[in-house]
Symmetry: C2
Subunit: 352 residues, 2 copies
């Protein structure tokens, strides 16, 4: 596939450990409810209709790029498209979030999952959205693809939505370790195909979201979550090589896995994304010099008055340094945040 020439490669250079003129910056959930233009479009379309309609997904992906001096776009989609591809119903309920009305209850429910998954048939709409968006970007900035990581997806599939404790999904890990591994392997297989398909469609960096790592302690994380994370990086890169696709950099974001930073940095990912509870300098010491770090401003710092926000950003950059660093928040931006604070965040990063 042929695409417009990339004019701003800061993000990719930083991910590969090359010199950059300025620190690259993007924002998790950067296309979303804090933007009035998103809310306007969203008021006319169902959430998953937007995900499934390449024209709409592309339009939303481009909204923050048109507004801000960002160094990357991230395709508008949702991590729960994989459970959907496996035949599960996922609804996005206003004020509640995602709901899976028929969650997996016991290992026999694994039989309900429709697999193996033909990702082109079930998730082709994401690939189309990526290709269309990359053309529309006209090489302005690179396009990031993403997927949820297996443990996080398993959590939603068993809990049926968000939860305070993830206790049902964790009960599976303790009660049905073998069935849990079967489910995680199945999700790993789909995720590998899904991410390779994204590269094929034009994604220039891939981020894996292990958003629910904070529910696991070290033992469960090492036993169940980490092997899948490591396997995905390895297999995606192997398969891209085999298909003579570009080997794109890969980022792992395991929110709350403070205990596993060293192990995560040994999984082969090019970038390790940090949540806001991790100190940049300590994290650098823990992962060594050969990994790019991403993050990690507390999203709530965007509520601060401009002067304080600028000070927070400057302190963060001072700690991370300019080398092997991609600036971002420590988690997704919240819907009630002021787009002007996002602008200040981005411009302060670029002022270094």
């Amino acid at each position: 596939m042929s695409f417009p020439v990339l004019k701003n490669d800061r993000l990719l250079r930083a991910a590969r450990g090359e010199e950059v003129d300025k620190i690259p910056v993007w924002v998790m959930r950067q296309a979303g409810r804090y933007l009035p233009e998103f809310r306007e479009l969203r008021s006319r379309h169902d959430f998953f209709t937007i995900c499934q309609t390449p024209e709409l997904a592309a339009e939303i992906t481009l909204q923050p790029i048109q507004r801000f001096d960002l160094d990357a776009a991230i395709i508008f989609s949702d991590i729960l498209v994989i459970p959907q591809a496996l035949g599960m119903v996922v609804e996005m309920r206003p004020g509640v979030g995602p709901v899976l009305p028929e969650p997996l209850e016991t290992p026999t429910d694994l039989q309900r999952l429709q697999h193996p998954v033909d990702v082109n048939a079930t998730l082709g709409y994401v690939f189309k959205a990526i290709t269309l968006t990359r053309h529309r970007l006209e090489g302005k900035v690179p396009l990031i693809g993403f997927s949820g990581a297996p443990w996080t997806l398993m959590g939603y599939m068993i809990e049926g939505g968000g939860t305070k404790t993830m206790s049902k999904a964790k009960a599976w890990l303790y009660q049905y370790p073998e069935a849990s591994k079967e489910l995680l392997q199945l999700l790993t297989d789909v995720t590998v195909d899904y991410l390779v398909g994204q590269v094929q469609a034009g994604a220039q960096l891939l981020q894996l979201f292990e958003s629910n790592a904070d529910f696991l302690g070290p033992a469960l994380f090492y036993q169940f979550a980490l092997p899948a994370i490591a396997e995905i990086n390895q297999r995606v890169k192997d398969k891209c090589k085999q298909l003579k696709l570009e080997i794109v950099p890969m980022t792992i974001f395991a929110k709350g896995a403070h205990y596993a930073l060293e192990e995560l940095s040994k999984c082969g990912y090019d970038v390790v994304s940090l949540d806001w509870t991790l100190d940049p300098e300590q994290s650098r010491q823990r992962v060594g010099p050969n990994i790019t770090l991403q993050g990690n401003l507390d999203p709530c710092a965007l509520y601060a008055p401009n002067v304080s926000l600028e000070r927070e950003v400057k302190e963060m950059v001072k700690k991370f340094g300019k080398k092997r660093y991609i600036a971002n928040l420590g988690h997704g931006i919240y819907p009630d945040m002021d787009p002007e604070s996002v602008r200040i965040f981005i411009d302060t990063i670029h002022s270094f």
Copy 2:
């Protein structure tokens, strides 16, 4: 006040760093919804009515003691009795949890708080419940008193209940740092009086619950939460000394404050309670030999089959060792857990 002689002082000995014959063990939220006898009593009484009725609070506090071989009782109450004492309405809604229908919105709302608080007038029912329970315990095990820590209380008072992000309360820290400190100081003052009153009433160890530390990163925690935590330990002990009360051991549980373990261990607390994301051996190295550690089995391990649960408990104890250690879960027990698993947890601990 005169109480029955204490027959089992394992918990207090471990908290003070003395030798123990067996590892002391108790369970956070040990009197609660996982017990059928609790659910029976609760079906007849409103949650806060139980807290406010010393006879009922004592009965519920004793339920797990009658059932299990525990080394401590913890008074049945709730951390939100302090916001109530400050004049805020707190409701316990089934399936939702605590709701404060009129949360603090801006710093001017601080004027709504009724303070200074006369803890004997507003929280005397807790003191009565403690005195009654300590008599009823007949010296079988020591009685633990507790309070929520200021940042955690502030969170509920601003959010009006549980939340996924604590974004309103964190917005206060960023937008109104001075008013936030004023509120935290006010909560610190009440908490000190409240905890001293509990010692006066018969509490033999005090635990401070900073349950919402996980929403803060290092900078906010050090600036806002930690100073209050340190001040409470110092002032409670000073005041007990001044009033010629027993100086009881104090425990700090700051859930999610993995980044602050060293700093927490320097606050003067006798016991630092760990959540399940922290490795026991690394934690010991970080805090040094002069602190008792408490914790930290993943509550969800209680869903495991008996054999696996026993194995998990044994691995935990092997890591913590018998010295300066109080066994517990890494967070409160969940309502759907099997009391028989609690028994196995306790008995396995005592088998060392």
